[in-house]
C-alpha cells in the first residue's frame, strides 16, 4: 500500500474506524479532563468540597460553582465550535465526579477511614446539564454564559440539598448546639486541619436574615458568568488549529 492509498477499503470499514477513533478520543479526553480538572478543583475548591462541615450557606455556595465552571466552559468551546457537541460541561463533571469518588472512597475512607458522610463530593451534574442544554438550544456563547452560567450557580444549592439537609439537623452536645455536619467535623479528628481554617458562615450578608443561600447562589451565578467568558476563550484558544508557515515555499 502506498502513502497515497486509503487505509480503508469500504464505507463500512471507514465507519468502523471512525467509531473506534471516537471512543479512543472520548476515553483520552475523559481521562485527561479527569486528571487536570480534578487537580484544579482540589486546589481551588479544596476543603469546601472535601468536608461536610464546610458545606455552608455562604462560601461553599459561592466558591464551588465559580471555580468549577472553568473546565466545562473551556471544553464546551472546543466540542461545540469544532464538532457541535453539547456535552462539554457534562463530560467534565462526570470525569471530575468519577475522580472525586475514587479519591474519597480509596483515600479518605479506604486509607484514612473518614466516613463517607463527612467527605462526599459536591453535586454538579444538574448544573452541567443546564449549561450544555442552554448552549445546544441557543448556539450562542453569550447566552450560554449569561443564562447558563447563572443557572449553573443557581441550581447548585438545590441540587445538593437532598444530600446535605440531613446533616444540618441540630444536635445538643455537651451544652452546645451543633449541626450533625459540625459534629462529624469535630468527632472525626483532622490533625492537619484545625478548626480556625474552616471558612464558613463568614461575611456580611446580615440583611437577609436566615435566607442567605439564595443571595449567595445569585452572586455565585453572576461571577460564574464572567468566569465562563474567560474560560470559554481559553478553550477556544487551546483548541484552535495553527499551522507554521513554510518559508521555503
Amino acid at each position: 500500500m502506498s502513502a497515497s492509498q486509503s487505509a480503508v477499503r469500504s464505507r463500512a470499514e471507514a465507519v468502523a474506524v471512525s467509531r473506534t477513533f471516537d471512543w479512543m478520543i472520548l476515553f483520552v479526553l475523559f481521562t485527561a479532563v479527569l486528571g487536570g480538572y480534578h487537580i484544579h478543583f482540589m486546589l481551588t475548591g479544596g476543603d469546601w468540597d472535601f468536608w461536610s462541615d464546610w458545606k455552608d450557606r455562604r462560601l461553599w455556595v459561592t466558591v464551588v460553582p465559580i471555580v468549577a465552571i472553568t473546565f466545562p466552559a473551556a471544553v464546551q468551546a472546543c466540542l461545540w465550535w469544532r464538532y457541535r457537541l453539547p456535552i462539554g460541561a457534562t463530560l467534565c463533571i462526570l470525569a471530575l465526579l468519577l475522580g472525586e469518588w475514587i479519591n474519597r472512597y480509596m483515600n479518605f475512607w479506604g486509607w484514612t477511614y473518614f466516613p463517607i458522610n463527612i467527605c462526599f463530593p459536591s453535586q454538579l451534574i444538574p448544573s452541567a446539564i443546564i449549561l450544555d442544554v442552554v448552549l445546544m438550544l441557543s448556539g450562542s456563547m453569550t447566552l450560554t454564559a449569561v443564562a447558563g452560567g447563572l443557572g449553573w450557580g443557581l441550581i447548585f444549592y438545590p441540587s445538593n440539598w437532598p444530600v446535605i439537609a440531613p446533616l444540618h439537623q441540630p444536635v445538643e452536645y455537651n451544652g452546645m448546639m451543633f449541626t450533625l455536619a459540625d459534629l462529624s467535623g469535630y468527632h472525626y479528628v483532622r490533625t492537619g486541619t484545625p478548626e480556625y481554617i474552616r471558612m464558613v458562615e463568614k461575611g456580611t450578608l446580615r440583611t437577609f436574615g436566615k435566607d442567605v443561600a439564595p443571595v449567595s447562589a445569585f452572586f455565585s451565578g453572576f461571577v460564574s458568568v464572567i468566569i465562563y467568558f474567560l474560560w470559554h476563550f481559553f478553550g477556544k484558544w487551546f483548541s484552535g488549529t495553527g499551522f507554521i508557515a513554510d518559508d521555503a515555499s
Binding site: 464538532y83 457541535r84 457537541l85 444538574p126 444536635v171 449541626t179 479528628v189 483532622r190 484545625p194 458562615e201
Partner: protein, 414 residues
C-alpha cells in the same frame, strides 16, 4: 570479554531487582507526627504542657480514654510566631483512629477555636473514643493560627477489637436517634448515582452516533446547523426542564422531610478562664546559660531566693515536653512517656533545702540524650538563641511551685 560484561550486567540487573523487592517488603509503620522536626524554639517557648495523664494505655473499640493536664502559655512568646489569639485544642493522631468525643479548656467545651492569653496557665481535658484497632501515638496538640501546630508529648495507646463494631450514637434536637458513623451514607450514594446516571444518559445520547470525524467534517464544510436536529432540541428540553423541575421538587420534598435545619456553627470562643495560679514564693534569676554541644547538656547558673515559709528543693526542669528530674527529690509516678523522661537528668550543685529567706547561687545541669533525640540541640541554630522552661520546686510538705525561666543561651562547642 563480551560474555563477562553481559554476565556482570545481567547479575547487576538481578541484584537491582532483588534490592527493590527487599525494599518493598520493608514497610515500617510511620507513626511519628513530626514533633522532632519542629523548630526547638517553637517547642520551648510557646506552649508548655505539664501534669499530663493518659487515663489508659489500652482500650477496646467504643471505650474511652481521657488525656488531661495543664498547659502554660509562655509569656515570652517568640516574635516569629503569631500570638495565640485564635487557637484550637487539637489531638495528634493518625487520622480518626479515635473520635474526639469532647475537649475542654478550663471546663469549657471547645469544639471551636479559642483565644488564649500569654503568661496564663489553663487546664484541659480531651475525651477520645476508640474507633480503629492498632497501636497509636496520641499527642496533645495546640494549633495556633499563624503559628502552626504546636505538638505536645505523645504516648502509645493500643486499641483492640474490630472497627466494624464501632458506633457513634447521637440524638438530634428533634428527637431522632442515629449513628453518626453511618448516617446518611446510603442517601449520599443514592442521589449521586441517580444524577450520575442522568449525566451518562445525556452523554450516551450524543455518543451513540458518530462523534468526531464526521461532525468535524460537517462543521468545516459549513453544515454545522444540520448537526443539531429538532429531535435533539426536544431531548435537550426534556433534560433541561426535567433537571429544573426535579431539583425544585426535591428541594421542597427535602424541606418537608427535614423541617428543622440550622446553619453550620462557627466563630472563635473568647473568655476562656485560666487557672488561678499562686504567686510563686521562689524567685529565680538566670545568671547565664550555656548548651554544651559535645556533652548534650544545658547548664544554668541560677540565683534562687526563697521568699516562702518552708524550705524548698529543685525537683524538675521541663522544656519542650522533656522532663529532667532530680532523683533525690522527685520520681515520676504518672507513667509519663519514657522517651521524654530523663529520670536522673537533672543535677544541682547544691540542692540541700533552701531555707526561708535564703538566697543561693546554684549551677543546674540538664543532660540527657533527649537533647539530641528530640533535636532540642538545634536551638543553637535558631535566629533568636534563647531557651525557656519550667522549674518545679518542692517544699518540705511536698507542695509544688512552678517558676518559668527564660534566658539567652550561649552554645559551647568544645
Amino acid at each position: 570479554m563480551k560474555t563477562i560484561k553481559d554476565k556482570v550486567a545481567s547479575l547487576s540487573f538481578v541484584a537491582l531487582l532483588m534490592a527493590l523487592t527487599a525494599a518493598m517488603f520493608y514497610t515500617p509503620t510511620a507513626s511519628a507526627h513530626g514533633e522532632k522536626s519542629q523548630a526547638a524554639f517553637m517547642r520551648m517557648r510557646t506552649i508548655h504542657w505539664y501534669d499530663l495523664n493518659w487515663s489508659k494505655d489500652e482500650v477496646a473499640v467504643n471505650e474511652t480514654v481521657t488525656i488531661s493536664g495543664k498547659f502554660h502559655v509562655f509569656g515570652g512568646w517568640p516574635e516569629s510566631v503569631d500570638e495565640p489569639d485564635v487557637s484550637f485544642l487539637n489531638i495528634g493522631i493518625p487520622g480518626p483512629v479515635f473520635i474526639r468525643a469532647g475537649s475542654w479548656i478550663g471546663g469549657q467545651l471547645v469544639p471551636r477555636s479559642v483565644a488564649l492569653s500569654l503568661g496564663e496557665t489553663y487546664d484541659f481535658k480531651v475525651l477520645l473514643k476508640a474507633r480503629r484497632p492498632g497501636d497509636w501515638h496520641v499527642h496533645t496538640m495546640m494549633n495556633v493560627q499563624g503559628g502552626g501546630p504546636i505538638i505536645g508529648p505523645g504516648k502509645w495507646v493500643t486499641i483492640t477489637g474490630s472497627m466494624s463494631q464501632f458506633v457513634n450514637p447521637i440524638v438530634t434536637l428533634t428527637g431522632k436517634t442515629l449513628d453518626l458513623e453511618t448516617y446518611n451514607i446510603s442517601n449520599i450514594y443514592f442521589w449521586h448515582a441517580i444524577w450520575y446516571a442522568v449525566g451518562v444518559a445525556w452523554m450516551w445520547y450524543w455518543a451513540k452516533g458518530p462523534i468526531f470525524i464526521p461532525r468535524q467534517l460537517a462543521v468545516a464544510s459549513g453544515k454545522a446547523s444540520t448537526l443539531i436536529s429538532s429531535g435533539d432540541k426536544k431531548v435537550g428540553i426534556v433534560f433541561l426542564v426535567g433537571t429544573i423541575v426535579a431539583n425544585a421538587y426535591l428541594m421542597g420534598a427535602t424541606n418537608d422531610e427535614y423541617p428543622v435545619t440550622t446553619p453550620l456553627q462557627a466563630g472563635t470562643m473568647r473568655g476562656i478562664i485560666p487557672l488561678e495560679m499562686p504567686v510563686p514564693s521562689v524567685n529565680v534569676v538566670v545568671d547565664d546559660a550555656t548548651y554544651r554541644v559535645p556533652g548534650r547538656a544545658m547548664q544554668m547558673s541560677l540565683t534562687v531566693t526563697n521568699n516562702g515559709d518552708s524550705s524548698v528543693r529543685l525537683g524538675e526542669f521541663m522544656t519542650a515536653s522533656v522532663r529532667f528530674l532530680e532523683p533525690n527529690v522527685l520520681e515520676d509516678e504518672t507513667g509519663y512517656p519514657d522517651d521524654l523522661l530523663a529520670e536522673e537528668g537533672l543535677t544541682v550543685s547544691d540542692n540541700s533545702p533552701l531555707a526561708p529567706g535564703e538566697t543561693r547561687s546554684i549551677s543546674v545541669t540538664a543532660s540527657d540524650a533527649a537533647w539530641e533525640v528530640y533535636r532540642l540541640a538545634d536551638l543553637i541554630y535558631d535566629p533568636d538563641s534563647r531557651f525557656a522552661g519550667l522549674l518545679f520546686f518542692f517544699d518540705e510538705a511536698g507542695n509544688r511551685q512552678m517558676v518559668m525561666v527564660d534566658s539567652a543561651l550561649i552554645p559551647s562547642f568544645i
